[in-house]
């Protein structure tokens, strides 16, 4: 099944060591997105970067390094993104949020086939 619509893309940049109420910030943001019924949210770990604090972050070869830059791509309707923004304001202490308008094509399996 194919649907086309216009939506908002939000990219949230922060560090992997950022926490929210003791949990990794990216997990907390993802949980909030799911709660708001947002279409799609994916967390990416960068290999190098710098941000608001002008501190260069590196992801080392050691997989448990906690200094890598994190980017979350969130795609949702104008309304959903509007609801999410106040939460992001509260949760992201140090970071960057960039928004753009995007055209979306969604492919989904029809229920009878899966």
């Amino acid at each position: 099944m194919k649907e086309e619509f216009t939506a908002r893309l939000l990219r949230v940049h922060f560090g992997e060591d950022d926490l929210w109420q003791g949990k990794p910030l990216h997990e907390a943001i993802l949980a909030k997105c799911a709660e708001l019924g947002i279409e799609e949210a994916t967390v990416f770990r960068g290999i190098e970067g710098y941000g608001a604090a002008s501190r260069i972050r590196h992801a080392s070869h050691w997989p448990y390094s906690k200094d890598a830059p994190i980017q979350i791509s969130i795609i949702g309707t104008e309304e959903q993104i509007g609801k999410l923004t106040p939460y992001l304001d509260a949760m992201v202490e140090e970071g960057l949020v960039a928004a753009s308008t995007v055209e979306v094509v969604r492919y989904s399996r029809t229920p009878e086939r899966s």
Binding site: L30, A41, V43
Partner: protein
């Protein structure tokens, strides 16, 4: 220089043993064609055959192995063929000369092109679009990972560039949470492909995406290409030819 369109293909059948002024006949015909400026000619040696005298020429018998059939072929314009045909018939002697109407689809190029043309996909500048495709790492297409198949399809369609990202956490169309755990051998991560090219080319590619992606999200947004540089593959020293476009505020 041969032009695309109507032309004549001339084939001359000779016997290997024939000579003309002490040199093999085929080489003297080839020289004649060469100095009369014929676009190109090919000499092929048959492995067996017979001609007007009904003498079987074959390489199986050692004593007559120098009498193998020879075929000379060339393609030229009507006018050129008319011009050289008389002398050619004289040279061919007892051999057969055949003419055939043909059509040149693409004339041969000089082996050393003056400047290699810039591939079409390297000419994008300014206004473009970014297409992000979100899918799951376990999605497959004809037994290979879907993201790999998509990259191959994009490259085959001359799309300017693509990068595949593996997410460490995410959820999508199927509402399954993907988590990349370093100690778990099977990957069930989220995958994002970021593709940049002109709007028309990306839109033209969308039907292929549609065929390959059963479940997923494709997102388009506008971008301005500030620089797309590449290294000319034939340059001896690394030389960067860039197509800078104006930077929009």
């Amino acid at each position: 220089m041969l032009q695309p369109g109507k032309a004549v293909k001339v084939t001359i059948y000779l016997s290997d043993g024939a000579t003309h002024h002490g040199v093999p006949l085929y080489s003297s015909i080839l020289d004649f064609l060469f100095y009369r400026g014929v676009a190109g000619a090919t000499v092929t040696k048959g492995i067996a055959g017979f001609g007007a005298d009904h003498h079987m020429h074959s390489e199986q018998l050692v004593e007559i192995s120098d009498r193998l059939p020879i075929k000379i072929e060339f393609i030229e314009s009507h006018e050129k063929v008319e011009e050289i045909l008389g002398k050619l018939e004289e040279l061919a002697g007892s051999g057969l000369v055949e003419m055939q109407e043909t059509t040149v689809a693409k004339p041969a190029q000089l082996s050393k092109p003056v400047k290699p043309p810039i591939p079409a996909h390297l000419k994008i500048a300014g206004k473009a679009q970014i297409m992000r495709i979100f899918l799951s790492e376990e999605d497959r297409w004809k037994s290979k990972p879907l993201y790999e198949a998509l990259v191959e399809a994009l490259r085959a369609n001359d799309i300017a560039g693509v990068t595949v990202y593996r997410g460490i956490l995410g959820y999508g169309a199927h509402r399954r949470m993907h988590q990349d755990k370093p100690l778990v051998s099977s990957h069930h991560g989220s995958i994002m492909l970021s593709v940049i090219d002109s709007t028309e080319k990306l839109r033209a590619f969308l039907p292929i995406v549609e065929q390959m992606v059963e479940e997923g999200l494709v997102v388009f947004s506008d971008v301005d290409i500030v620089k797309y540089a590449y290294r000319a593959p034939e340059a001896g020293k690394p030389e960067t030819a860039s197509t800078p476009a104006e930077v929009r505020p």
